[in-house]
Symmetry: C2
DNA sequence: TTGATATACAACCATATGGTTGTATGATAT
DNA sequence: ATATCATACAACCATATGGTTGTATATCAA
């Protein structure tokens, strides 16, 4: 999922489909690269569960998946928790030393 | 930065150095791969500003950089803001329709 | 039915990535 | 002074990634 978000084009695609649906060709229209390249980016996002596709006639509508985004945020926050945890432990050790 | 966090080994290294310092060899000790491979991972994290190195005698101590982690979290939260924004606008449109 | 549109997918290419080994250098310990 | 330890870095290799073009298929419009 971090790998999926590592590419600027994919972050842009993702941003555009959060909270609304856009067809693959609508997305592709605004990039210099070929339609197939955009298709590949969408499929990378799809495998990472950051977007889902919903067929509507001959179009495939791409939707952003907010819950996966949330899970990513949680993961980063977990790193912060580790940091807070260690900082607290260090503070405790210093506190113990101080009270001797 | 997402690219740096995309690799499991690097996430593990990062996790281990948040809130404390570990030498490159200490880090390398616990992975199957060669010392040079771990060194490369650390340098990727360093270029992404997720860690910094501080020389101490012949050892190089790797420290996690929490502020960069925070910036990453902010970025993901910004995506959520976009989502909230669009959801609100849709609610407004529905509200307008309802009041006609 | 025919033509245009939207998508899917395969084959291919250049470059990036994640790994290796080997060599060099600075710091430490004896 | 010398051996050892921690690191740096180059050269190399296999595979992944991000792009291309070309072809096939399904849907919509005329």
């Amino acid at each position: 999922m971090f790998r999926a978000l590592a590419d600027p084009t994919r972050r842009d695609i993702f941003e555009r489909v959060i909270g609304r649906g856009l067809s693959v060709s609508t997305l592709a229209h605004d990039y210099e690269m070929s339609f197939a390249a955009v298709q590949k980016h969408v499929s990378v996002l799809e495998r990472a569960a950051l977007v889902t596709k919903e067929r509507h006639g001959r179009e495939q509508i791409v939707h952003g998946n907010v819950s996966t985004l949330r899970r990513a945020t949680e993961l980063l926050k977990a790193f912060e928790e580790i940091w807070i945890g260690r900082a607290t432990r260090i503070a405790e050790i210093l506190g113990e030393k101080g009270s001797e």
